[in-house]
Subunit: 211 residues, 2 copies
DNA sequence: GTCTATACTACGATAGAC
DNA sequence: GTCTATCGTAGTATAGAC
């Protein structure tokens, strides 16, 4: 299907070059169609960009772990919540490792530099749900009720994972490797999950001190 | 001076729109000069881009804390190293809060998406020194000798700070605010420094368990 | 629906006046 | 050194054939 091919390639090219850096000619050619089909199907470059954003928003979804998360939140059990956080993060790292991730990951990061309506659409989907779920899981796991505290913690946890894509160059330089192989990524995952454990424990201590 | 104005604006515009998204016409106009002066002084758009990268590389420098770091590393004192890490991170957050930071911060993040020689130049300067210093400080603070462990920890620490700029849109959404005011940033700084303490403690435990 | 033609705009580079 | 004028190229959009 032409539209599907256009979307796949659009996410890739927009993610790599941005809205202005990408050319509709190149996208159409890579999709094996004429440039005017972009106008026909999406009304133009910006329409394709927004459609690509919607497509990305859908791709982020991860129905498997959603049930685990919701159940953990509903249970109110700190141990289950902590395990759900770990699972959420590990799955996210795995998906970032996937070859297809470069497209949508860069698309999202790039979009946040000059936010347009595309980001609103992306965040309106599973990405926003994941964020809110992470905050709730942190509250359950630590007993911290203050939303601001939980939200800030969620951001620092998310940042530890995101840097793999957002500052890939720095990661390569620091690690002294050209590529991030499976062994390094396994160590990285261990580091992040251990960090999360340490942070959650610290938050519990903070809460108890305050009381 | 024309060249200085050109560099300042180039960093801003390239950071916001990227190499291909930016137009030399717009940069020249904002700098109050003719477009051909870019050709004259820098040989063209790419020359200006590289010059802007060098300019960014210089701006990152922070001679004040450099001495503190080097002294802490040389001392071999875990407590001093830990304090130096905290100072390094706090200063970095402060500088990210600065209004001028949007230019160079986005410039660097964007450059890492499609790395060119510009990133090599930036990393060859204070940015690389800071990275290496952070790794060494972590080794001193925790007693961990394995470089890979220290490097991975450095990346996760850096990521917690970087997300403020790399995923600003998500931060705003999660926190439910349009801007990150000083009070939120103060809480954020407290969260990150507490996280670092917790992570370093955890690393020390890991080392002792392994022994 | 899809492609080819073409119109129109904006870009970067360059030449030349001063 | 700095500006104006101009060229060639590449971009998006659009009209019209099929």
């Amino acid at each position: 299907m032409v539209q599907q091919r256009l979307l796949d390639i659009a996410v890739e090219v927009f993610g790599q070059n941005g809205l202005e850096g990408a050319s509709t000619r190149a996208i159409a050619k890579a999709a094996g169609t004429a440039m005017s089909s972009i106008t026909y199907h999406y009304g133009g470059k910006e329409g394709l960009y927004l459609a690509a954003a919607d497509y990305v928003a859908r791709q982020i979804g991860d129905s498997d772990s959603q049930e685990v998360r919701d159940a953990a939140i509903a249970s109110g059990d700190p141990a289950r919540a902590r395990e759900a956080i770990r699972q959420l993060v590990v799955r996210f790292i795995d998906r970032l490792q996937n070859e297809h991730s470069n497209g949508w990951a860069l698309f999202i990061i790039r979009e946040q530099m000059n936010p347009t309506e595309a980001f609103e659409r992306i965040y309106a989907g599973p990405m926003g749900e994941n964020s809110r779920a992470l905050v709730e899981l942190i509250r359950v796991a630590t007993g911290v009720e203050d939303y601001r505290v939980a939200r800030l913690a969620a951001i620092t946890i998310f940042g530890q994972v995101l840097i793999l894509k957002a500052a890939r160059g720095t990661c390569h330089k620091v690690l002294g490797t050209e590529t991030l192989g499976p062994d390094i990524l396994a160590d990285f995952t261990r580091r992040v999950t251990a960090n999360i454990d340490a942070i959650l424990d610290r938050m519990i201590s903070e809460r108890q001190e305050q009381a």
